[in-house]
Structures are given as structure tokens and as C-alpha cells.
């Protein structure tokens, strides 16, 4: 799991890099979001590097998050399966609640940023809820000691 976490960090580094690039070269269209802006730049200036940082970052993040989220437990059994399904359900609900709240509070181009982050929120929420339910919560329960 650790190498994938490192991969994830690398992916986020690429995200930062891409966003920083944008700040140095502000687009005429304003703060639309780097994916769209990058594509526009790609067409206009054939800037391959700027185009691929975002893409690579996004794909790496997706792969890393998927690996972390859906890797098998050391001991996979019926309870783990149920915890996983429940966590997935809660994360989907939570994701749509966040999406609903942001839809009410943010408008226009800033909402596009929300949509971008929203690509990852289900997976991130799932990982947090699943790990909490399976590994952290039992430690606080009365029968936590083996």
C-alpha cells in the first residue's frame, strides 16, 4: 500500500505543478480549471508538457486510489465484505450531499473546480470510512482487546 501512497503523492505533486503553471500563465478565459485550459493551450500552443501533467496526475491518482480502496484485506471474510459495501454506500450518499451543498453555495466557474475534486471524493470518502470502520473503530470498543 505504501508505494501507491507515494505514487499518490507524486500525482498530487503533478497537480500542483500544473496549477502553478496556470498561475504563471493566466488564461484569458479566467479560472475555468486546468483541464479545460490545458486542452485549450494544447490546441493553441501545442504545449505537450502542460497538457500531460494534469492527465498523468489524474490517472496516477485514480490508479493509486483504486489500489488503496479495493485491495484485498489480509484476511478477507464475510464481515469485511459487508463493511466494504456499507462504506461504499455511505460514501456515495455523503458525496451527493457534498455535491448538493456546493451546488447551492458555489456558482459559475468555481463550481467546475468542485466537479473536478468531486471525481475523487467518493473514493477518498470510501477509504476513510472503510478504514475507520474496520481498523480504528474496534480499538475504541469494549471488546477491542484480543
Amino acid at each position: 500500500m505504501l508505494p501507491f501512497s507515494i505514487l499518490l503523492l507524486v500525482a498530487y505533486y503533478h497537480f500542483d505543478y500544473s496549477i502553478r503553471l496556470l498561475k504563471y500563465n493566466p488564461d484569458k478565459k479566467g479560472q475555468i480549471g486546468y483541464i479545460f485550459t490545458d486542452q485549450a493551450e494544447f490546441i493553441l500552443s501545442k504545449n505537450f508538457a502542460a497538457d500531460y501533467t494534469g492527465t498523468l496526475g489524474m490517472i496516477c491518482t485514480f490508479i493509486a486510489l483504486f489500489m488503496i480502496a479495493f485491495s484485498r484485506e489480509k484476511h478477507e471474510d464475510e464481515y469485511v465484505g459487508i463493511v466494504r459495501l456499507r462504506a461504499l454506500q455511505i460514501s456515495v450518499y455523503a458525496n451527493y450531499m457534498i455535491l448538493g451543498l456546493t451546488a447551492l453555495t458555489l456558482f459559475g466557474s468555481s463550481f467546475l473546480m468542485v466537479m473536478e475534486i468531486n471525481l475523487f471524493t467518493i473514493l477518498i470518502l470510501f477509504i476513510l470510512i472503510y478504514q475507520y470502520q474496520l481498523h480504528i473503530k474496534p480499538r475504541f470498543s469494549k471488546s477491542g482487546t484480543a
Partner: protein, 66 residues
């Protein structure tokens, strides 16, 4: 649903981890069953009862509201 796994475990003097290993599940599963947070499948209930040399009814029992 109530269960007497903790008591049975104490009688046999085995830990959650040892019980988990014997019935081929994770320790978290036994922990969740003991804390009454999870109702095991029929297969797992039968396995646990067999390990303790009892019937399922003796280890697991219904409670009010079930």
C-alpha cells in the same frame, strides 16, 4: 441477537485471534460479533458452535425486538 461467545471463549481459554483463526475469519469479525455489531452468517454461526461443542441455539439466542 445475543451470543455467549465471550463466555465460551473464556471457558476454553482462547483469544479472539485464536478463535478467528480456527473458524477461518478475521479477528475484527469475532470482535464485531462479540460486540453484537454484526450478525454472522449461518455457516459461521454453525462453525463457531461446533468449535465450542454446542448447538447454535446455545451460543446464539434471539432477544426482544429481533
Amino acid at each position: 441477537m445475543k451470543n455467549t461467545i465471550r463466555v465460551e471463549r473464556a471457558i476454553k481459554d482462547i483469544t479472539q485471534a485464536e478463535l478467528a483463526e480456527k473458524v477461518d475469519v478475521s479477528r475484527q469479525t469475532i470482535n464485531a460479533i462479540e460486540a453484537a455489531k454484526y450478525v454472522p452468517s449461518t455457516v459461521l454461526a454453525l462453525k463457531i458452535a461446533r468449535l465450542f461443542g454446542k448447538t447454535v441455539n446455545e451460543v446464539f439466542e434471539l432477544e426482544e425486538g429481533d
